[in-house]
Symmetry: C2
Subunit: 358 residues, 2 copies
């Protein structure tokens, strides 16, 4: 596509399932975060077959089977891990337990697909890196704020097609609604959730690495704070960071738990990408004070200002690619290095953060 076609960029349509029923079997375990539903939906839509569900909490299993009645309840994690038919285990455990669970899964000869954030300490990251090396299995991460957002996927396609030139800066806003009464205790314990930059900040850093095609990056500055939630002293209700990739592109992101009560969705997530020849803005979940819904993308380049309404038009190629990667031992969905680098950087950002409210 050459430059003169700038205004003709268009979504390519939703991907089809990549396997037939029974060709790729997975299980769901560790139902602590609701993201497990998104993880399973993505895999199922791409053709995977859900065989087992396991969690020590029967209520969580019941809720899961209500949504996915095809899943059989396993009696133990071991029963899942011993089933040779199972190729991938999807999980959304408490963040501090994700690494240990993944190590078990990989040592049982299966790939692992965890909710973000993948780790809460560098020691966990190092241990799982070792297990990946030893076993040759995958430790893949559900960075939902890109992988499961059609406008975010389309932004990547636009960049690849050269629609905005070379990317020089990415700014991300990741505000979330707290809804404290709905949250489990671990959500407010820093040892378990890892801190805001480690947790929801991991989405942002993954997006930066992806959109700038950076293999290495450096955290230049970061901060955290608790501005409005003294009842939860270990909650960071605010965090931000700025990073530099090895090619000179930089990032700023902020994440917070201050979504206003009156917002029509859980958060006004945005991504702004500045290139040498254009800009992209993604209004991921809402386009304020309109009834457009989410997945609104605004492209500006030499051709003008263009708006794309992308819900239902792009799909989520990650999941089919992941299934094929597991089958073919390729890395088209996401490289292991990329997942681990995003994890490492979010831990570093959290670790070096200035606490601005202390």
């Amino acid at each position: 596509m050459n430059k003169a076609d700038g205004m003709n960029y268009a979504p390519k349509g939703k991907p089809n399932p990549v396997v037939k029923e029974g060709e790729f079997v997975f299980a769901a375990v560790g139902l602590d975060h609701g993201h497990i539903f998104g993880q399973c939906n993505g895999l199922l839509e791409a053709g995977a077959t859900l065989k087992w569900v396991y969690d020590p909490d029967q209520a969580k299993v019941d809720g899961f089977i209500e949504k996915f009645p095809q899943a059989k309840q396993a009696e133990s994690l071991e029963q899942v891990l011993e089933d040779e038919e199972v190729k991938l285990v999807a999980a959304a455990a408490i963040p501090s337990e994700r690494s240990a669970l993944g190590n078990k899964v990989m040592r049982a000869g299966k790939d692992y697909f965890t909710d973000k954030t993948p780790f809460t300490t560098i020691a966990q990251l190092e241990e799982s890196k070792k297990v990946v090396e030893e076993t040759g299995q995958k430790y893949m991460v559900y960075f939902s704020e890109r992988l499961h957002v059609e406008s975010a996927i389309f932004a990547g396609q636009l960049i690849n097609e050269g629609a905005i030139g070379k990317v020089i800066q990415v700014t991300g806003f990741g505000p979330h609604r707290l809804n404290a009464p709905s949250r489990p205790n671990w959500f407010f314990e820093k040892e378990k959730y890892g801190g805001i930059l480690c947790d929801i900040g991991s989405h942002q850093i993954e997006q930066f690495l992806f959109y700038t095609n950076s293999k290495e990056a450096e955290v230049l500055h970061s901060k955290i704070g608790n501005y409005g939630h003294p009842a939860y002293p270990e909650l960071d209700d605010y965090g931000d960071a700025t990073l530099k990739g090895e090619n000179g592109a930089t990032q700023f992101f902020r994440v917070d738990w201050f979504t206003p009560d009156g917002l029509s969705t859980w958060g006004d997530g945005r991504t702004f990408i500045v290139g040498t020849e254009g800009t992209i803005e993604i209004r991921k979940y809402v386009d304020l004070a309109t009834d457009k819904g989410g997945n609104q993308l605004y492209l500006v380049n030499q051709e003008g200002e263009k708006h794309f309404d992308l819900t239902g038009k792009v799909g989520f190629p990650f999941f089919g690619d992941l299934i094929l990667d597991c089958i073919n031992r390729t890395e088209n969905a996401m490289t292991q290095r990329h997942a681990f680098k995003a994890a490492e950087l979010c831990l570093q950002a959290q670790d070096k953060a200035l606490n601005v409210t202390q």
Copy 2:
């Protein structure tokens, strides 16, 4: 206004002129930057009387008189400074010369109203601080990206009325169109324009201090770069910074010269303000891919998402307040401390900036 009235926030209407013809006389000198037209327009609309114009470049004077035929051409700066009728001198000199010019003006017993950025070195700032103290005159600054933007003024009014609770974070984007052939040589010489954070970054820092009501702040991190303009090695075509105010609120801003050719205006300037109970987004000059024009403000708080179209509905109270401040020796338009603090911080941000493209 109590919280239940949240959705009833409304602009108060445009201010009226504060003086009659001849009651407050000013002159325009130093026509190097086109902002002088905005400075004069603002003062004239507020009732001031424009008596003189002076610049050594006759072409600039001719262009000025075409727009403001009431201005008489002075033969020298001294002629302006010796006229006791003149109470205020507006100027948009080359940035590195603004301080010296202002010192002359103040020593002649007149107030000074300069285009931003007010200084390019800390030594200039210190010198002009001294002259302000010695003379009791004002060194006021045209931070146009707030003072002359109705949606930005309205944002301040919303914050004062408590529409979003306590402000905890301000993010600003200040992209500008370069249009290099239209720029004078000094624009590309760092000694003269001061660097991007010193120059267009000063707008951003002024807004942060204003919206967070900060009297002191600290530059935590800043960066500059030249990503795409090797022909102008002293041009910073990118800059960003993050600051913390004395009350714990923080800022991130980025400024750049990468406005895409196809944008319908010179820059997609934005301000995002996060409060403990709501958020404000200002789309200052364009609301992408719509025909709404600039001055679109989006307020989200406990009452819902609300859109305000503000062109022609708020006016620019700064100018009338400035005239009255000059007459009454008050500080309602802007305190001297605020103007100097914004100046100091933008110089610090520039000084400590990491060059990410070297």
